[in-house]
């Protein structure tokens, strides 16, 4: 910054930025790879003038100046081009000459990313490493009074039910009288949560679907994946693989024109229909696909013009109450597939979840309830929604389960938990904790993006640019130059790796608890936590 220019309020130095790029002139070969790969153009060619003062060693002789020019990179300090810390520059650098480093103090950039009155929006996660689920321990270990099971050799049944289950007496009565039985799917308790075609790149989507198909057809694991709100490619709708897919309908109804038209051509019913009323990352806000990502393919599938932002409304516009929602939407969705496909709502974690749940218990069509806690991830949301809105999943699920148990319907409406499962890498432990708190299964998205596709996001505001379609790994981009970086088959293989290792870890948790023949849903006597207040709140044991 020249000294004679005024300093604007948003004039920042590199020190003020969240991510500072450390560059080593000695190692740099000036290949330009880093500047080319940077998704936010934080780097530019730097031409540096350097002055060396040379002083003669003897008494005589005068000092002189040597001026030289050298080239390198310069980090932009305009907040619009602030480095996001993705580290792609390090990845492509042939000489390890460059690396983003997180600031050692609270950055100043955060106060300036609302220029033009635009509040910050981004993709990613809540950027908080705090996880109550990580603190829950499994304390009921079978010792001597009963033989512990062998996770490697004993027979296990890791399955859950998705769908409305009638109470035992009613089940038999309905079956005797040939009454309508609500459809029930027996599935794997770890579901890939709703990430839309549009939010994800075609390669990522295809990789996930291939992985799911392999798990089902080659390994016999009934893993299911939810589409998110954005429809489903017609080729998949008309294929036999549709049975592994949970179709999501949300307030924008994107993609449903295509889906409804495909119904007569469907070879298989979908696994289920999820009606999204809310998501954990941005409670009270609809889905948001920004114009950057709405290319022709996405536009065609969603039934919209290309190049426009697609904000879904926060609520379903035709509905004003849960009663109406249940009456209209759940039943019309059932009707669309001849009452053969379970339909369930998904809501954001909220202190009003019990009211929703209580209503669902009285409706024989509600096939379950999915609750997405505050730690859920997203492709795009306002920063404030992601960081501050929402309800933690553990107590929300626990309250709902205890409420069901109170009513005696804990086997009838399955609860599915999402949001923050595996956020610090402990996927199986977090899932098992939620199951024992009362969830019938869990949904995860971010973990899959990280493990199956190498998403660079972390809980420290790294990358988080899923919203603008610049994903440097090609996971959430619709730009072929970016998503071709992602190999479809390798994504599929990683999906399989994730589920196989999850399966082993889950068995390693439930086997010592003496459980193998049924999923330990609500087995809270096995849980402990070293926080007295949390223990009381969750009605589990306090252990120190």
């Amino acid at each position: 910054m020249p000294s004679n220019r005024p300093i604007a309020p948003s004039t920042l130095s590199v020190k003020d930025l969240l991510w500072q790029i450390h560059w080593n002139r000695d190692k740099c070969t000036l290949c330009g790879s880093c500047t080319a790969v940077c998704p936010v153009k934080a780097l530019e060619l730097g031409v540096f003038r350097k002055r060396d003062v040379r002083i003669a060693m003897g008494i005589q002789g005068s000092a002189d100046n040597v001026f030289s020019i050298y080239h390198g990179i310069r980090q932009k300090t305009d907040p619009a081009f602030a480095c996001v810390g993705c580290g792609m520059c390090s990845m492509v650098c042939p000489n390890d000459a460059i690396m983003p480093v997180r600031s050692d103090e609270t950055d100043k950039q955060r106060f300036h990313i609302n220029r033009g009155g635009q509040a910050r929006s981004r993709g990613g996660r809540r950027n908080s490493t705090d996880s109550l689920l990580d603190r829950i321990k499994f304390i009921r270990i079978s010792m001597l009074t009963d033989p512990a099971l062998d996770a490697g050799r004993h027979e296990f049944q890791i399955r859950t039910l998705l769908g409305r289950i009638l109470p035992p007496e009613k089940s038999l009565e309905f079956s005797r009288n040939n009454g309508w039985m609500p459809p029930v799917r027996e599935i794997y308790p770890l579901i890939i949560g709703g990430m839309s075609f549009g939010a994800l790149s075609p390669n990522m989507w295809e990789g996930l679907q291939m992985g799911i198909a392999y798990l089902n057809e080659e390994l016999g694991m009934p893993v299911r994946i939810c589409t998110g709100e954005g429809g489903c490619p017609p080729r998949l709708l008309k294929s036999r693989f549709l049975k592994y897919v949970i179709l999501q309908i949300a307030s924008g109804y994107f993609g449903w024109d295509e889906i409804l038209h495909a119904i007569p051509h469907m070879k298989e019913d979908p696994c289920a229909v999820e009606i999204k009323y809310g998501q954990g990352a941005k409670p009270g806000d609809g889905g948001l696909l920004m114009w950057h990502k709405v290319n022709r393919l996405i536009a065609a599938i969603r039934g919209v013009p290309p190049g426009v932002s697609l904000p879904s409304p926060p609520t379903h516009q035709t509905q004003y109450s849960i009663e109406e929602s249940v009456a209209k939407m759940i039943q019309s969705m059932y009707m669309a597939w001849g009452f053969r496909v379970p339909v369930y709502p998904k809501i954001s974690g909220t202190s009003t979840a019990l009211a929703v749940l209580n209503n669902l218990t009285r409706n024989p069509y509600a096939a379950g309830l999915a609750i997405d806690g505050e730690d859920g991830g997203t492709g795009a949301a306002y920063n404030v929604s992601m960081n501050h809105m929402g309800h933690p999943i553990a107590s929300n699920i626990r309250d709902c389960y205890l409420n069901l148990a109170n009513l005696g319907v804990q086997n009838e409406i399955p609860l599915f938990a999402g949001g923050g499962i595996g956020k610090n890498g402990n996927l199986a432990a977090n899932a098992a904790a939620l199951i024992m708190l009362g969830a019938s299964g869990v949904q995860t998205g971010k973990y899959i993006m990280q493990a199956a596709a190498g998403c660079l996001g972390s809980e420290s505001d790294r990358c988080n640019i899923c919203n603008i379609g610049k994903c440097p790994k090609g996971i959430t981009s619709q730009d072929p130059r970016l998503y071709r970086r992602l190999d479809v088959e390798q994504v599929a293989q990683r999906v399989v790796d994730v589920f196989l290792s999850f399966d082993t870890e889950l068995k390693k948790i439930v086997a010592p608890l003496g459980r193998s023949t049924s999923l330990p849903i609500g087995m809270s006597d096995a849980l402990g936590i070293n926080d007295h207040d949390a223990a009381q709140r969750l009605k589990i044991q306090y252990v120190v």
Binding site: L172, N411, S516
Partner: protein, 378 residues
């Protein structure tokens, strides 16, 4: 580990037979308690088969309070067998005033009631007495049911039996179940001692039910007063049996499908697959886990044994025409029926339910993978 022994005999036998079998198997249990269940009674009870019999332990004060309560409820005594031990109890056994086995005549007002009503009222009275006893710590009530006697006490089974003089003439039964050892998971409490009984169904278990808490929560919310007061993880086996038979009308063959359902591949091949899948889904909360051998007695006077899904606990059935026994160990069988054909002894595996009916002629074996002969109870 605890040890179980059950016998079904065409002619009434003394409970000492079962206690003796437990004594033979003493290496397998710690001698910390004994529980006895007797049904199809001989002796004086033979003539009053329909009269409800109250079994329990009472202090003198408890006896007076109970008497007042029963009189007030309209019951009159038909037969009384009060065992008042006169010697010092063996080490570990508390001193008790009275072990009571007393048959009552129904109140006049009950005569017009239908069977279901009477059964529920009997359960209600038992629960009321139990609550009264827990309040003042002066009575423990095990059962109040026609043709059923129960005795439970802390201490070595043989010593307790000798102290109580169980070899007495008036105490004989055609069906006897006996268990040695107190519950170990929780504080010693006679309500945690097997066998457990509810409305004609009784079971005892060797093992641990790791799914106890979710099952208990499920049963407690079925709207039936009898599903309460759980002190042992094994008590739910009895209540699941009662629930599946009485509330769902299922046969004993189907009981095994409730507690340890088949896995998917087997269900696909099963001729009753869709029915069994329905059962598995709707009774998911009743699936037991962990190692368990369950022996039980049904209202139709049959005796059965089922094993857990992995068959992790011992259990053998053997006998001869008119006399069959279920035992944790073969040495228990040998002690009681030495002259049986040992080659016909049967150790049920993970898919089996074995049943000896009231005719005491044969051991019936139902394999879970076979078609269900009876879905519903008779």
């Amino acid at each position: 580990m605890c040890r179980l022994f059950a016998i079904t005999s065409r002619t009434p036998v003394s409970p000492m037979v079962a206690v003796n079998a437990l004594d033979v198997m003493r290496e397998g249990h710690d001698g910390s308690g004994v529980g006895l269940f007797m049904r199809d009674l001989g002796g004086p009870f033979k003539e009053i088969k329909d009269a409800p019999i109250l079994s329990g332990i009472f202090s003198e004060q408890g006896l007076r309070r109970m008497d007042a309560f029963m009189v007030n409820a309209g019951f009159s005594i038909l037969y009384d067998l009060a065992i008042r031990p006169d010697r010092i109890p063996p080490s570990g056994t508390p001193k008790r005033d009275c072990y009571l086995i007393r048959a009552y005549d129904y109140p006049v007002a009950w005569k017009a009631l239908d069977t279901r009503d009477i059964r529920n009222r009997l359960t209600g009275i038992r629960l009321e007495l139990r609550a009264m006893g827990q309040e003042k710590d002066d009575m423990i009530v095990y059962s109040f049911w026609p043709d059923v006697v129960m005795i439970k006490e802390i201490g070595d089974p043989m010593r307790v039996a000798c102290m109580l003089g169980l070899d007495r003439e008036e105490l004989k039964a055609r069906i006897i179940m006996a268990q040695g050892r107190q519950n170990t998971n929780y504080a010693i409490n006679l309500y945690a001692c097997h066998p457990f009984f509810i409305q004609g169904y009784s079971t005892m278990t060797n093992g641990e039910n790791t799914a106890f808490h979710p099952i208990r929560e499920f049963l407690e919310t079925r709207g039936f007063a009898g599903y309460s007061g759980y002190q042992s993880d094994s008590e739910v086996f009895t209540h699941i049996l009662h629930y599946s038979a009485e509330r769902m009308g299922l046969s004993i063959e189907a009981y095994k499908h409730v507690i340890t359902p088949l896995q998917d591949a087997d269900l696909e091949l099963h001729s009753d697959g869709s029915f069994l899948r329905l059962l598995k889904n709707s009774c998911r909360k009743l699936i037991i886990d962990g190692p368990n051998c369950v022996i039980g007695s049904l209202p139709d006077y049959s005796l059965f044994m089922v094993q857990d899904r992995k068959k992790l606990r011992p259990g053998v059935v053997g006998g001869k025409d008119g006399l069959y026994a279920f035992s944790s160990e073969i040495c228990g069988l040998d002690a009681v029926i030495p002259d049986r054909d040992q080659s016909k002894d049967f150790q049920p595996m993970h898919l089996d339910t074995v049943l000896v009916g009231p005719d005491r002629q044969e051991v019936k074996i139902c394999r879970q993978t076979d078609p269900l002969r009876h879905r519903l109870s008779a």
